[in-house]
């Protein structure tokens, strides 16, 4: 069995992102699930449950998870980099791209004033 503190899950062989199974530190990460490669290099800290790119992605490239497009790269994303609200756009929900990347909380408007 593969053992490492850095583990990430790939759901479908076509996926270009992996999901962190624990808080990841920069460096080598073991890939489990339906991955093409046995490991990947993580660049930067990735929180558990969050995704990182398995390939270099250009603006407009589909983010593939479960073998299906879950959104599009809103900026270029290099291999190993955290993939989330700050660099992904939903095909439907325009607001999600404006939310705080750490907490998901709204950043726009002055509703609480």
């Amino acid at each position: 069995m593969k053992t490492s503190n850095n583990r990430a899950f790939v759901i479908n062989v076509a996926d270009n992102v992996a999901t962190a199974l624990s808080d990841l530190r920069p460096g080598e990460c073991v890939l489990v699930g339906d991955a093409v490669h046995e490991s990947a290099q993580v660049r930067g800290d990735i929180r558990s449950g969050h995704k990182f790119a398995l390939v270099d992605l250009k603006v407009g490239d589909a983010i593939i998870k479960y073998g299906v497009a879950i959104g599009y790269a809103s900026v270029a994303i290099e291999c190993g980099i955290w993939v989330h609200l700050h660099n992904v756009q939903s095909q439907f929900d325009e607001r999600s791209g404006t939310l705080d990347g750490e907490t998901g909380a709204p950043t726009e408007g002055n509703v609480y004033v």
Partner: protein, 410 residues
Amino acid sequence: MSNSQNLTTASTIRSWQGYLRSDGRKGVRNLVLVIYTVECASFVAQAIAKDEPDVHVIGFPGCYDNAYAIRLMLSLARHPNVGAVLSVGLGCEYTQPHKIAEVVRESGRPAEGFFIQDIGGTTTSTEHGKQIVNRLRQEIESVPRVSMQLSDLTIGCECGGSDATSGLVGNPVVGRAFDRLVEQGGTAVFEEVVELIGLKEILANRAKDADVRKTIEATYDKAMSYCQQVQQWSTSPGNFAGGLTTIEEKSLGAFAKSGSRPIEGVIKVSEQPDHAGLWLLDSVPDPHFMQHGYTNANDSEGILDLIATGAQIVLFVTGRGSVIGCPVAPLIKITGNTQTYEKLREDMDFNAGRVLQDELTLDDAADELLQLISQVASGKPSKPEALGHREFFIPYKHQDTPPLTIGCRS
């Protein structure tokens, strides 16, 4: 074999004793349901049920009536787990407690109703209600018992407080359990069409035939139109913090709970599937939805909608954690997140996160979950049930009355 023997050999439960209703349906609990018909009667209704074993409460807050809400309360009042009903009103509202009791009696269940204004004040009405509830409970003690197995069950599933583990293991474990339930002749219901956004083709391809495919496509298009018009998508800050980035990603995780069997059809809230298999519940308002404002259904509303399909037990998958329960049917809490399981152990029934730690396979987890379902069906309280959680939410909403040919709406 008695229930206690079954419980001591948990791995071998295949059948248990349930409650046979006069309409032929089988329940796993034998409850008295107290129904209030306006918010003004809610305090008295809750006071009547307080400290009474096997007495649950639901109700509708509005003073003006709503056909959707009345249909929902009537389907819960005639649920297989419910043996008798007491309906309590204030006396001014449109929704009529006596009418509810009358319809419930037609189903063969004892039922009564009263207006608080006819009886007296808070304590007088509460005492009056408690006397009725005790009489009803005695009456249903003699309900015939009947042998039940998985094929007699309808199980609903809803997810809430999702994180990345929900799509990786929480919902997939339920999906495999649903496959097995359907293989054994049981019925499984999933919902949350607003959490299937982005999956039109994938969803439609699961239809059992061309007619069902058309219905699924229309249901999807309506949900999409609803989300666009109210400008709400079913993702929340907690989902994003947990690593989910888009509604499409959340949808794929949520859809995993449906397993792999063909979808037999689409039912609306308060309808029951008319044959076994996997069904999709459409709880999205029909056109003219803005007539009652808009709602992005919360977890308690979704769970109640699933119970109204006749589900004797509902599964709830969470990643971040959740501390809700529901009346009428036991709720079984599943998480794919081991940290959440440890932190909320008092609320969580099942840790699917063990699959991510390579401690067991998805298939083994699904078998274990089915055993847990059988144990709860045989009388073991689920954790939310034992904690006394009985949350519910019945809003004003509009859904077209389904034609009688669909489902078995009575």
